[in-house]
Each structure stands twice: as structure tokens, then as C-alpha cells.
């Protein structure tokens, strides 16, 4: 995967050369799977990114995101007609849901096999408000900063994590979708089932809130050091 670096800048995010979602009916019939395969390949880097982000931290040693995405393709292929007929959401959003479902199923299977994982309990983790928070924490924890930046990064990570954790679920989710899953505003709107404007406003508001908390955080640690 490292030989397939994901460059959202050129491909999806700013440049509106983002591929236009295909007509759902194109997936019907015998040519359907082929068409799906093409689209799926286009989405694959993003999907792997999303899976890596959403994966339960305790699973990282056992599951590889690319395997999860690959596995999900088979499920998706079997259901593509369903999408073609109903197409409740745009293709990418639909595929993302299926992939995440596959991820959950795989994690569950592993749960069952390996008695140690999630067999008994969950600890009162102040940061485990919801899975998003978990994922963010895990991603932040697992990042590899460049050696020169270690010190700064470590502090920034901690601050960011704290700030995100202290936000409410919706705000955190919106930021996660945009910055960790690298989704576009349109996709966020589709996933949340709201209008483009509402999604956009929500995002800006969440970002403003985050900034406010981050400012406080650095301020608070100053106060604390002064004491």
C-alpha cells in the first residue's frame, strides 16, 4: 500500500474533476459487475484509508485494511443490483457503508475466534464516547511523526485528541469525515442525509469550536504550569 500513496489533493478534494457518479442503471445486467469493478478501483485508496481509520484499535494487528476492502468487494458485487434498483444514496456513500459493514462483520468474526478480544468488558474510557472518538485517538496515537518533529507532534497530538474528545459527537463526526476520511462536503451531506448548505455550515461551525477549545487547551496548560 505504501507504493500507492493517496493523494487526495489532485484526485478528489479540491479539484472538481471528481468523477461524476454513474447512472445506477448502468450496474444492471451482465456488464454491471465490470462497471462496478472499475468504480471500485477508483475508490479503493479512499476506502482503505477509511477502513484504517475506522478499524477497532485492537484489530489492527489482525486485519489489514486492504484485505477488508477486498473482502467487501465480493459482498458489494452480490448486492449491486439492489443498489441499481433503489440507489438510496450516491454510489460512493453506498459502497462506503458496505465496506464498513464488512469491517464490522470481520471484527465480529475475530471476536468470536479469539476469546480474548471484547469477550467481556469495556473499560470506562473517558475517550470512548463513541467509536469515532476511539478511531481518532487510535489514528493519532499511531502516527509516525518525522524525527525532528517528535516533540512538537507529541504535544500537538495530545492537545488535538483532547480537544476532539471534548466536542460533541456530531461535531467530531463531521470533522472526522472531512479530515480523517477525506470526504467531500457533498459526501458528508449524503452520509448525514442533510443538504449541502447545512453540512457545510455544520463543518465550519465544528471547526470553529475545535479552534476555540484548542486555544483554551494551550491556555489551560499554561495556567497549570504557572501554578
Amino acid at each position: 500500500m505504501s507504493e500507492r500513496p493517496f493523494d487526495p489533493f489532485s484526485e478528489f478534494v479540491v479539484n472538481p474533476s471528481q468523477p461524476i457518479p454513474p447512472n445506477p442503471s448502468g450496474f444492471l445486467g451482465s456488464a454491471g459487475n465490470e462497471e462496478l469493478g472499475r468504480w471500485f478501483e477508483t475508490y479503493r485508496p479512499r476506502l482503505e484509508q477509511i477502513v484504517a481509520f475506522r478499524m477497532d484499535p485492537s484489530m489492527r494487528k489482525r486485519l489489514d485494511p486492504s484485505d477488508v476492502v477486498q473482502e467487501s468487494f465480493f459482498h458489494i458485487a452480490r448486492r449491486i443490483e439492489e443498489f441499481a434498483r433503489e440507489s438510496p444514496v450516491p454510489l460512493f456513500v453506498w459502497i462506503r457503508q458496505r465496506v464498513l459493514q464488512t469491517l464490522i462483520d470481520l471484527q465480529r468474526t475475530h471476536c468470536r475466534d479469539k476469546r480474548s478480544v471484547h469477550r467481556e468488558a469495556r473499560w470506562p474510557d473517558p475517550y470512548s464516547g463513541q467509536s469515532t472518538s476511539y478511531s481518532i485517538a487510535a489514528v493519532l496515537m499511531d502516527r509516525l511523526p518525522s524525527p525532528s518533529q517528535v516533540a512538537i507532534q507529541a504535544e500537538e497530538q495530545a492537545r488535538l485528541q483532547v480537544a476532539l474528545d471534548s466536542m460533541n459527537e456530531t461535531d467530531r463526526e463531521v470533522l472526522a469525515l472531512r479530515h480523517f476520511e477525506h470526504l467531500t462536503n457533498q459526501e458528508v451531506a449524503d452520509i448525514l442525509g442533510i443538504g449541502v448548505t447545512a453540512a457545510s455550515n455544520r463543518y465550519v461551525r465544528a471547526a470553529a469550536k475545535l479552534s476555540e477549545i484548542l486555544q483554551f487547551d494551550s491556555w489551560a496548560s499554561r495556567v497549570d504550569h504557572d501554578r
Binding site: F9, D64, Q101, S116, E169, H179, L214
Partner: protein, 989 residues
Amino acid sequence: MIDDAAGIDDAAEGRHPVDALAEEFSARVRNGEDPDVEEYALRAPEHADLIRTILPSLAMIERMAVQDSASPSRRLLHTEPAPPSSFDDFEIVRRIGAGGMGIVYEAVQRSLQRHVALKVMNDASSEHSKSRLRFQREAEAAAGLHHTNIVPIYGIGEDHGRQYYAMQLIDGVTLHDIIETLASTQDLEQIVAPKSNALSNATVHGFGSSTARQVASAGSPARFQPRDAARRLLNRTPIDDALTGIPSSEEPIEFEVASRSGTAIEAPPVQEVDGRSRSAFQPPRAYYRNIARIVANAANALHYAHHCGVLHRDIKPANLLLDRDGTIWIADFGLAQRSDFEGATQTGELLGTLRYMAPEQIRGGGDRRMDIYSLGLTLYELLTLEMGLRSPKARLLDPMGHSTVRFSKAMQRVIPRDLQTIVLKACALAPEHRYQRANELEDDLRRYLEDRPISARRAGPVERVARWSRRNPILATLSGTSFVLLATIALLLGVWNRQQQHALERIQTEYDRAEGNLNEKTVALQLAEREQTRAQRNMDMALEAFAQITSNIAARGGLLRNSIDLEDAEWTDFADASLTQADVELLQMLQQFFTKFAEENSTDLRVEAAVARRRVGEIQHRIGKLEEASDSLDKAIGEFQSIRSIGGPSQRVLLEEILACQEAIEVFAKRGQMAKAMSLFQRAKRLFESQLEFQSSEDGKYAMAQLIGCMVSNNLRFNNDRRRRPAMGWLGRGNLPSQPPLPANQRARLQREDDLNAEALTLLADLVSAHPNTLAYRVSLASAHKEQVRLSRAQNDWNRADQSLTVAADIMENLVREHPKTAPYKYQLAEILAIPVARRNIDAQRCARGLVLCNEILQEHPLVPEYLALKASILTRQAMLFGSILNAPNGDRGDAGVQHFLEAIAIQRDLVNRYPEVAVYSIVLLQYHVQLSELYFATKRPEKSREIIAEALAIAEQMKGRGLAQPFVKAILDRIRERRANLETKADG
């Protein structure tokens, strides 16, 4: 700046203009560039501030997220060095979570082969030897805690240079998770009815359910999810009774998609980002009860820990776990330490915790009451799903200024008032205003669960006013202060007398509106003038509140007066017997109001001030401070006289003076000073007769009729009291209504009173014919006839008693017919019908009608204590009538009688439980017991009879223990014992 961000549309794209810039900026950072924020600020100068605020944060996120995330194999854990695979006896299985102070692992204790949770402290936390020592000491203390609701600590230790402690692994979810889950769910049905939801989801998410089914059918229990826990809380099954977890087959696996991938498709996005516009959380009733239960259990645990000298210091939803069985567990006891905050700040523990800290704790102090505060806040969040306190920054700067919890209007409407009050008390700003011990909080929650009145009072009104005045010195003028007091009163009335809540809310609304109008219209008015108007309005509102309270009390007092056997008892011994605790407090507050009013307005609003003085006396009278009441009333009467002598007698002053006299007569009568009462009565009567205009006026006539009624009934009662010993049923005295012949002087006295009452009847009859639409006159006329019933009974004139009762009942019957929806009319009618006067079969018919009426009003108002009490009283009347008809009751009728008594006792016992402080209810309950024991005896069931007497004794002892109506209870106890002795002798003979 947040406001700045809201609702700005870029018309072209429909996106927020800053969104597009932020997106571009983020993408560049992601691409390795270091774009200049100012460049973006220039591109959209109208949003420059917002841009400068958010872009640096976004850059921070991107720098974090941009690394090669997709290759797990190459990850290095920098902030968290790979943990050793074991600590001493504990072998790490997996990481469960991380907090500011350490990381929590699931581990296996090798020696005992048990799974435990292992909290390993960060290096940083272990650095300072001081904090280390403290950690050790606290952890040891916490390890000594053994309580069903505290996560047990198995042991503490140090290995690899890091401290750790091992504790029981709980199969549960945190309240934090539950709150988040509930808060992010738009439709509670999704949680409550998982099956239908799973179905609808299946169509969307479709595949994958087969895997889920495999998991389920394989029988491995699914993880206990916040959603399951939330469902448990919403479920009607009381959480205490739940013994098993939710079957895994019910688990809607598909939910995970929704919760993991964002709100997904089914969630309508009503929720505003800041949560403010979300409609209030409206769970089923059961939720509140479940919440109250688990928080009560947590409070119990807290109390236990406090008792053992261990403070928690970090109570918050994330530290409370709910397990599958519905048991609540408090985790991390005694482990949060102030000395760790420095370390914690960096990793953010402080932030998470700050939100739940008591203000004094933020300042660095605090005792057990800080834990109570934090638990109160936790309860708040469970009730509202919103943060009790926002802005942690502001809290740190000014803890006292930002630690007040509020319920929004919408919340107030849905959340049980008692729970609101409990939260407000637990989270009071000053520790001394909170529950002083955690078990007091628990007790109040249990009282709520048992539908008993809670001990917490909404605000300490006096203190609140005082504090408020200190904060607002300029506003705290007469009207300001008065208004706060009144608002508090209205609030209290709302809390305690649900019946009147609406009425008072109306008053409040009216008041607010009038206040608004006044402010608008009277800018031109002189300040003094405005103040005066306002003061007068405050007075009106206070009077209305007072009327509400007294009507309640009067109803309870009337019950006692009407109670057949107790009519003769020395009930005047305890003037306050019919007051609830709430009444007393309200009355005391009103007294304050009136006193203050009287003092502050003695020159400007002289009449009002005198009226206020009269009210003070009235209240003192109600709460049993007879001497002080006499005093206040005396002052009021004097003031009225002096006003009259200066400005001449206005109708209003005359009216008020007569009312004051009436009250004073009552008080004299209660103190046994009948001569004084009589002379005051004569004086008032002369005054009335000397003022021709007033005498012929509507108000005058009415006031005089009331005055006479008051004198007559007091005189009657007073003399009865002296004449007879309280009778307690058939064994104590012959069957009612046989009476000894009256001595001559008594007859003469009763004749005088008869004449007086005739006067009152004439006045009222005049009023009714002149003003047929004024219902109050008709009610009063009925009352006067009722008084006549009593007078005639006292004179052993049973025919006349029967006639008067028929008239009184007819008047009320008409009112009931005309106003079938007005419960008080039915109540009064039923009350009249229950007085025994005639042949038993007629009485029985009247009782039956009374019972029907009672049932009707109870159908509308099932909880009003007065109505319940009347029903119980009528039931026993009927039972006694059954008994009397056969003289020696047996067979069916005896059984019916027993049934009636049992029902009455059940109702009455319920009332006693709800209002343990109202002596009247307990006394009447005693009376029913005694009567039932006699009925048992008469139907040849001496065993039962003894049982019931024993029960009665227990109740009386209880009352004695609570210090209720002491002298009276003592007398009753003696009489019950005497009765028991009688019973034994008769049983033997």
C-alpha cells in the same frame, strides 16, 4: 466566532464560503505545503477572523492525519511505548482504553487465573515521589472499599517503574457512552423497539446480517453496547429487577453501521451542531425512574466511601458503569488527585473532568460535598442529555460564576419536578446548600421513586434573596426583593401542589405580562408611582398564592372537623396538624413577604401594609404560633382603627378590619380565651352595625356573615370540647347519636348561637337572592346551613339537623348540577352528605351519593389527598351504618363493613405514607383501626380485633416517635390501650 459561522450561505454553491477555503487549505497541508493563513484571510476579508481562528487548527489535524495511515505494520507508538507483556502476576491481554493518567488493559492474573482490569499509570504520573506516595495511600484506602456498586480493587503494585492497580473487570458501559448514544438518537423508538428497526435497516444495509446471525446463533454473547444499556434504561422493567442481560438475538447488529459511520441514513438531521435547538429529550417515565434508581445506588456507594474516609474526586459519567444486570458501578475511586492535574492537563484529563468539578474543587479545596456536586451534574446530564456546564475555560477563570446548573423551559416541562429539585440541590453553588451527605441525596431519590415528597426544597429562598440582593444592590428595592420572593413562592407551589401548578403558572404569566406592560407604559411615570403600582401587584400575587395554600389546609382541617367521632376531640390542641411540611415553609415565606411589605410600606401604602400585617397573623395562626398571631392581628386591627380615625372609614378598611377581627376571634378561641373572643366579636359587630352604608353593602353583609359563622362554630366547638371526652367508637361510648340531656345554661348558650347563625343565614340568603350569580355566596349559605346542622345536633334536635342538612345539600346539589366540572363543589357536597343526622337508611343513602361524588372527582383528580381522605371517611361511615342497622353485625353486612374499612384504611395509609408529617391523616388512620377492631369484635373475630389494635398501637408509637401532635397522640395512645384492655375483658366475659 461561532455565531459568525452560522447560517452564511454561499449562494452559488450552497456552501459556507469559509468551507471551500478551508478545504483548499487543508488539501494543501495534506500535500506537504505550508500555506499562509493570512493569504486566505485576505481572500475573504469579511470572514477574516473566522479564517484566522480555524485554519491553524485544521492544519494541525491534517499534519496529524497525513501520515501513512494505511500500513499498520509500520506504525510506531510514540506517545505510548509498547507495554510490557506483563506486570508482576498480571499478563496483559489487550488494551481497553486510555485516560490522562494511565492506560487500562484487560489482563489475566496468573495465580488466580482470573481476568482483571489493570490500570497502569503513565510514567509522568509516577514521577513525583509526593504524588506517588499519595497514590499509594489513596489506592490502599480505595482497596479497602467493599460495596456492591464500587468496582473492587484487587491490588496495587509497581513494576517496570510504573504503578498499576488491578480491579474487577466489569461487563458494562459507561454512563457517558449511554448519554452520547441517547443524545445522538433522534428517535427513541429506534432504541426501544430494536426489532422493527433492524428490519428497516436490513433493507438498507442488507448483507452482513447473515454474519450477525451466525454470531448470534453461535451463542457467544454479543458485546454489551451503550445502545443495549440505553434500551434498558428506557425499558419499563425496573432496572433493579432485571436479572439477565438482553438476549443477543435481539441485538440489532446493523446498528453498528449507523453508529460507526456517522449518523448514516436514517437519522433526520434536526439537531443543531451546538445542540441548543434540539427538542428536549422526552423519554418514557420509566427512564426517569431507572435513572433515579441507579443514581440512588451510586449515591449509596458514595456515602459508604465517604463514611470510610475515601473521596472520589472525579465522579463523572465516564467513571460510572452500568452492567448487563443493570447494576451501577463506580470506578477509579480515590485515584484522581489534584497533584496529578499538571500531568493530566497535557493529556487532557483535566478538561474532561473540569466539566464535573464542584467550584470549590476547581479552586483547590473541597470535601465530600464536591462528590455530591459531581454526582448531581451526572444526574443532570442523564436527565437532559446535555452538558450541565459548558465553557470549561470560563469555569477555570471564575468557578463560582459558571457553576450554576439550569433547566431550560423545555426541560422543565418534561423532567419530573422532584428530580429537577434534587439536581438543583445537589449542584448548589455553595457546599452548605447542597446535600450534606450522599445518603441524603439517595433518600430523596428514593422518595421520588416512592412518590413521597422529597426533602430538598427549591432554593433556600431567604438565602437566595439575600445573595441576590447582594449581587443586585440597586434592584433590590422593595419591589425587587418582593418579586424574587414571590417568584420563589410560585415555584414552590408548583413543585409541591401539582394541582395548583397551572393556576400559579397563570398568575406568574399574568404577572410577567403586567410587569412588561408597566415598564413600557410607565416610562413617564414617576419612579415612586411605578414602585407603588408594582408593590401593589406583588401584594395581589402573594394574596392569591396565600389563598391557594389556605384552601388546601382548610380542606384538610375540615376533614378532621367533620370526622364523626373526632368532632368532639381536642383537635384545637394542634393547630398545625393539617399542614404539610411544604405548607409550613410556604407560609413562612409568605409571612416574610408580608412582614417585609408591612414594614417597608407603613407610610406610603398604609392600608396595604396593615393588610399584610393581618396576613402575617393569619399565617402565624396557621402554623400554630398562636401568641404571635394574636400580636400581629392586634397590631393590624389597631392600624385599621387609626386609618379610620384619620381618613374616615372607607369600605375597604372596614372590610379588612372585620376580617382581621374574624381571624383574631379564631385565634382567641384556639387559645381558649372565649371571653376575649366574644368581646372582640361584639365590638366588631357594633362597628358593623354603626356603619350603615357598609352594613347594607354586599361586602359588608358577606363579611359579617363570615364573622358570625366563625364565632358560632368556634363557640360550639369550644363548649363541646369541654363537655365531652373524645369518643373512639362503639366500645368507648354508646352508639351515636345518643346524647345526654343538656344542662339549662348550655341550652341558653346554644339558643344564642342559634340566633346568631340565623342572622348569618338571613344575610347570606339576602346576598344569594340579590346576587344569584355569585357562587361564593351560595357556597357560604350552604356552609351556614351546615353549621346549623351542627348546632341542632348539639341541641339534640335531630329533625332540624336533618332539615338543615337537606337544605345545605340541595344548595350544593344545584351548584354541582350547574357546574358539573367543578370538583370542589362535589367535594363539599359529599362532605355535607357524610354528616350523620337522620335515620340510618337515609344516612346510608346520602353516604352512597357522597361516595359516588367522591369517585367522580377522584376519577378526574386521582391523587388529591383531600378527596382521597374524604372517600376513606365516607367508606367508614357506610361500614358503621351497616353495623348499626343490625346492631350486632354479622354475616354479609359485617363482611361488607370489613371490606369498606379495609379499603378506607388502605387509602388512608397511603396518605399517611405520602404525608407523614400531617398529623390529621395519621390520627384518622388510627381512628379507622380502632373502629375496625370493634367491628371485628362485634362479628366475633376477637383475634382479628386484637391484630388491628396492635397495628393501631404501632402507628401511634410511630407518630410519637416522629414527634407529631404530641399531647394528642399521648391521649390517643392511652385510649387505645384502654380499649385493648376493654376488649380483653369483654372477650373473656
